[in-house]
Symmetry: C2
Subunit: 306 residues, 2 copies
């Protein structure tokens, strides 16, 4: 085999009480990468589709390129590779777009080379891509995109990423409003210090969320999907945010919040029917605020890039 096509799913990070530590993967949508081994010892970005997507073709600036280069360099390989990227995820959406391309490219190159690295070992190379894309080598998008499911980033130094053995069956509605929100701005509103009482709330809720996901206990999941750290400051960037939360709950979602650093909104529900309705209702509120949006509904992935 010298060519392979890999799909890597969109991801939701900063899952409410899991600010900076918790993410999960959708079953779809996602980015696709076609990788072909070549004999010329060079990594090349051959094409990026659709043509409307403005992403760098330079290997050093494209997340798929950076990731593949980082992996090959780590294992001391001078293998040549052609990369074709089908970019289905919107950029700057809070849906883990940059991470998905890197995840797909890494799983592809690893597979073509006979899997010299484990899935967990791919994560640091995807983080290098995140560093290029958004200035910080964070793992809470790339880890779920590579591993699937709910993933906890317990610690960065040394990196400790844990696949959470959840028993809850959950569906996600992901709604991407067409507003621009730079990660930089979204990060800037967070204060370097927070109230001790808010930190205690956050620890109580994330502990309860873990119990709820593993037991499983829908009621507990629902009660614990709260964010005392980021959401109170970031809500102002999302028109109609308070109404969105209320409407999502009223239509049966267990919880909802900002996906990543926004502007997308995620909601978790117990069935596909509820998730679809919740997504439609959130879209309706954006429409009321004169904002177009796309709605994606899928189960939580039980596999990562494939």
């Amino acid at each position: 085999m010298n060519s392979i096509r890999v799909f890597a799913p969109a991801t939701v990070s900063n899952v409410s009480c899991g600010f900076d530590v918790l993410g999960f993967a959708m079953d779809g949508p996602g980015d696709e990468v076609q990788l072909t081994l070549t004999s010329d010892q060079e990594i090349k970005i051959r094409s990026i589709l659709p043509a409307s997507v403005k992403l760098p073709m330079s290997v050093e600036k494209n997340t798929a390129g950076v990731a593949v280069k980082s992996l090959l360099s780590a294992i001391g390989s001078k293998q040549g590779v052609d990369i074709e990227l089908a970019k289905n995820l919107p950029l700057g959406s809070g849906m883990g777009s940059s991470g998905a391309s890197a995840a797909a490219a890494l799983v592809a190159i690893n597979e073509l080379l006979g899997n010299p690295l484990s899935r967990n070992e791919l994560i640091p190379h995807a983080m290098e891509a995140e560093r290029i894309a958004c200035g910080s080598a964070h793992a809470d998008n790339v880890a779920p995109s590579i591993l699937g499911g709910f993933v906890l980033v317990r610690e960065y130094d040394p990196l400790d990423v844990i696949s959470i053995p959840i028993k809850a069956k959950l569906w996600c509605s992901l709604v991407h409003p067409h507003i621009e929100l730079k990660t930089k701005d979204s990060r800037k509103v967070l204060k370097p210090q927070i109230l001790l009482t808010d930190a205690v709330k956050q620890t109580g809720n994330i502990a309860a969320l873990m119990i709820g996901l593993m037991k499983p206990d829908s009621d507990l999941i629902s009660k614990s999907l709260q964010d005392a750290i980021a959401e109170p400051w970031r809500a102002k960037f999302i028109p109609g945010f308070d109404e969105i939360k209320k409407v999502a709950a009223a239509h049966g979602a267990l919880g909802s919040g900002i996906s990543g650093s926004g502007p997308s909104i995620y909601a978790l529900s117990e069935t596909k029917v509820i998730a679809q309705k919740v997504g439609d209702q959130i879209q309706a509120i954006f429409r009321k605020n004169k904002i177009n949006s796309e709605v994606y509904v899928s189960a939580i992935s039980d596999q990562g890039a494939h």
Copy 2:
């Protein structure tokens, strides 16, 4: 039945990354309460043993008395009760001493009255006793003393207490050094604001601890038993603290830390043999610092007061 004897166990609260939200119950030691129904519509503290213990005999100031009074008042009963208290737990030790007396008294009166309340419903009355004993109506000692096992206090308003369905088999070494440390002083060193990065560390670790306890995964429990919020400030109150942590780990403990607001030290281990050795080693360090101490070793209780 008009008389009953109830034992309520010592508890460890502020379990490392579970500052203010996580506690667990020992199998022993604990306080014992003998309750006898009387016909004179009065609650009386009849005796407190051993005689050396200096605790108020007034119902309004004694935690067992306050708890029983709160419960009877809530259910509109004017039942008379005689309370005899066998106080086995050292006061101001960080072992949940005040909470254990209240827990024992509540389970006793509830039993004598035919269990009008559930175990969870007893907790608010025990919290009233904590308010008298230490100025704040906290639940992270009384809840595990009443319910047994590991208990999460997710939220205070409204109170939401969750028994954690742990699968890990754990033993606790609890070492009580004879030094005085007032809860007030222990509380005073904590800052009302903390670094966002420390809050993120704490959430990552408590999430991992829940996964470790439920899966179970000893390695994960061990890695996650860290406290970024309270321990860095409170360590100075415990002579030899850094050495204690190192020695506990070196002798096989999964983790260790300050019990409650101190000065007692807890350590968690996978077997009784390891827990005993770890306890002895911690005691040896206190001895080196010219401090006497008691060592208690027990399994984590799977039942509360009984």
